[in-house]
């Protein structure tokens, strides 16, 4: 009971503290913190329009956060989601181009599913490579996944501007456009595309998988204690690779959806930092796929509010980055308050000082 309360209270307290600190920060720049807080709320959750803006931004974040959260449950820290995302987007655009029109248009849903699968495969394999390098070559997955992300972006740009380029895409080199039937549309009368639903469903499925299935449980055991897992006879390496595959697939799907729902073709605009934002969301949600949903919405809200802050108060767009950084730092610090561990720490700190 206490732990569940801590799970919710501590991050919330951290975010409130971050907002307060941010208010102090803007006060130093000569702005009224009350104005800023009001606009933050209005921009994120103020009216129907803001809500749609927030949810639209949250959609890719949920998936890229899974790219960090699922491997984290297996004990890895993977931060290369951006690379998986761009390759997923590229695969989706390429496949969409390669699919014969008959297949594509016969069933729009089937076409979209195929596009997402291609994206998932590309992203999943890329992150699995980082996992493989860790298990079989002992390379730190944080560094390798980040390096692979840079390499993926280079590959993406090379292919989009070179061999896969649509000759009629003049001043913004892009691949061919997706056929109408393959695109992902908006939900009902709103402005938000189905990618949001995919994100929410993916998070729920991931949470259920981790909690209820044997493979999910095994992955958590590996994450908890690799040695114990090996002693029990679990195929640790394969489970690590599985976690990487699933995480990368999620990020890949995020890229595919961005192409199918927003851009309709692959070009450099896809590289927008969703992968990196997903890292924050995952850590803030303490790597629980269920918690990723509200945290992603919060982050979407920050981004949406940032737009309003710029337009109304003339604040630099980096203000939201500062707020996110503060929130992240405080949430990490709040970990220390968990379970009274800080009491023992204070005592030991006292001992050494004496």
């Amino acid at each position: 009971m206490r732990s569940a309360l801590e799970d919710i209270l501590l991050p919330v307290a951290a975010i409130v503290a971050a907002l307060l600190l941010f208010g102090l920060f803007v006060m130093l720049s000569g702005l009224n913190p009350l104005d800023v807080w009001r606009l933050l709320f209005m921009g994120a959750f103020g009216d129907a329009y803001s809500w749609q803006n927030t949810l639209q931004r949250a959609a890719p974040l949920m998936l890229t956060a899974l790219c960090v959260a699922i491997p984290a449950r297996a004990g890895l820290v993977v931060i290369g989601g951006e690379g998986a995302l761009v390759l997923g987007g590229l695969a989706a655009a390429v496949l969409a181009h390669a699919l014969p029109p008959s297949v594509a248009l016969s069933s729009p849903l089937a076409g979209s599913v195929l596009v997402c699968l291609a994206a998932a495969a590309a992203g999943g394999l890329w992150v699995m490579l980082a996992g493989w390098l860790r298990q079989y070559r002992g390379i730190n997955e944080t560094i390798s996944s980040l390096l692979l992300a840079y390499v993926a972006i280079g590959l993406f740009k090379h292919f989009v501007e070179g061999p896969l380029r649509d000759p009629s895409s003049l001043n913004t080199p892009s691949t061919y456009e997706l056929a109408e039937g393959l695109r992902i549309g908006v939900m009902g009368a709103s402005d938000v595309h189905w990618g949001l639903a995919v994100g929410v469903v993916a998070c729920l499925v991931a949470e259920l998988w981790l909690r209820l299935t044997p493979s999910g449980f095994s992955v958590r055991v590996v994450g908890g204690n690799m040695r114990a897992a090996q002693l029990v006879g679990l195929p640790a390496s394969r489970l690590v690779l599985l976690a990487c595959l699933l995480g990368g697939a999620a990020a890949g799907v995020a890229g595919g959806i961005e192409i199918a729902a927003v851009h309709t073709k692959a070009n450099a605009a896809l590289i927008a930092g969703y992968g990196y934002a997903g890292i924050l969301v995952a850590f803030m949600a303490r790597h629980s796929p269920l918690a990723v949903i509200p945290v992603a919405i919060l982050f979407g809200g920050f981004g949406a509010a940032g737009s309003l802050l710029q337009r109304r108060l003339g604040m630099p767009d980096a203000s939201v980055l500062v707020l996110q950084g503060l929130a992240f730092v405080l949430i990490l610090a709040s970990e220390a308050l968990r379970g009274g561990a800080w009491r023992t720490w204070l005592r030991s700190a006292h001992k050494v000082a004496v």
């Binding site: 001043n171 913004t172 927008a272």
Partner: protein, 371 residues
């Protein structure tokens, strides 16, 4: 819209008749003062000494105009975010005229938002508005800055001692290639054997790569530089540090390197902006395809730097006069590309307004580099 027209016409005639009663006087005053909210969206920072700054300088002048309110947002990526920004400006800030200033905002983003808000007007910078394909409440504007790059080339041709000039570019897209070609042809009109070495950095804003490119070109003996990247500051400063000369682009970078700066190709976006604003205020239909060069005042040249020689100035001024008189075509045959193929047949010449030029995919003879 027709009502406005006739009302305006009748107002004008009333005033002309001298029957300027307080009513008509007040009505026309009210029309002039009708507040117009404009939204401007930048893809990068406003003060980058380059592309975005050129837009922002014009916007700053707009803010001083009576009855104009401006909302701006910077660093908006070319994703769904810009759609949200545009929608926000219209729905939350009451903007009725939007200027998305980056090329990548056009398709699908601006088109999607324009479809949802048929009463708002959208003026996109650099896009290729096509009759029948794009909605009427959208339009695109651009300037023929390659005319200024041609003049840059003329000056460079005069001033270069090594016979090698350099161009640091972001990506090999038509607008950039057109500039590279114009620069080269301008220089070659002075010194036929001069060569332009091109380096593509890969993206619009990569300071370290731009500095490296400048150094590499300088190592190769290039002594006059120009560029087509979003923020020319790094290239200008690096070239100046190497003791080379530089022609600017987008906005004037003369302050950064007063001795090394020869001249520059600058935008004069105010002309384009006021075209759209006038139309919006007077209720006239939204201009859909707005283009212009030196003649129409869409682009301008920076003042000459102290190093530029008299003969160079005379030469460039003469050609500039011809361009303003509409008597100068840059892209005319016979023109070969740098692989030996003929790209413009003898006897054919392209006017600046020819759409063909906006699809350019070659580098002319004299350019060292490949697309």
């Amino acid at each position: 819209m027709t009502t406005h027209f006739t009302r305006r016409a009748s107002l004008k005639s009333l005033a002309a008749l001298g029957a300027a009663g307080t009513l008509s006087g007040w009505a026309s005053l009210a029309q002039a003062q009708k507040p117009l909210t404009i939204g401007v969206i930048y893809v990068g920072p406003r003060d980058d000494y380059g592309y975005n700054q050129a837009q922002a300088e014009a916007v700053a002048l707009l803010k001083k105009m009576p009855g104009i309110k401006v909302v701006e947002e910077e660093n908006v990526p070319e994703t769904a975010a810009v759609q949200k920004t545009m929608t926000g400006m219209i729905a939350q800030d009451g903007a009725s005229l939007i200027f998305p200033t980056s090329y990548g905002y056009f398709d699908p983003h601006m088109l999607a938002v324009a479809a949802k808000f048929p009463d708002a007007r959208f003026a996109h910078c650099g896009g290729l508005w096509t009759e029948g394909k794009h909605p009427k409440n959208t339009g695109s504007y651009f300037g023929y800055i390659d005319e200024c790059q041609y003049l840059n080339g003329v000056i460079a041709g005069h001033m270069s001692k090594s016979g090698k000039i350099g161009f640091v570019a972001a990506k090999p897209i038509p607008q950039v290639l057109r500039n590279i070609n114009a620069f080269t042809m301008g220089a070659r009109s002075v010194k036929p054997g001069i060569t332009t070495s091109v380096i593509f950095t890969g993206d619009w804003s990569m300071p370290v790569k731009e500095a490296e490119a400048t150094n590499s070109l300088a190592d190769q003996g290039v002594d006059v530089f120009t560029m087509h990247v979003d923020g020319p500051k790094v290239i200008v400063e690096t070239a100046a540090k190497r003791g080379k000369m530089v022609c600017g682009y987008h906005a004037s970078q003369a302050k950064l390197a007063p001795k090394a700066y020869l001249t520059g190709a600058e935008w004069n976006w105010l002309t384009a902006y006021t075209t759209f604003i006038e139309a919006a205020r007077s209720g006239k239909p939204h201009p859909n395809f707005v283009r212009g060069g030196l003649k129409e005042g869409f682009v301008k040249m920076s003042a000459y730097g102290p190093a530029v020689t008299e003969p160079a100035k005379k030469s460039a001024d003469a050609i500039k006069a011809q361009m303003i008189a509409g008597k100068f075509d840059i892209f005319k045959g016979p023109l070969k590309d740098n692989k030996g193929n003929v790209v413009v047949a003898a006897g054919k010449s392209f006017k600046q307004t020819d759409i063909e030029l906006e699809k350019m995919n070659y580098l002319v003879e004299g350019v060292i580099g490949s697309v």
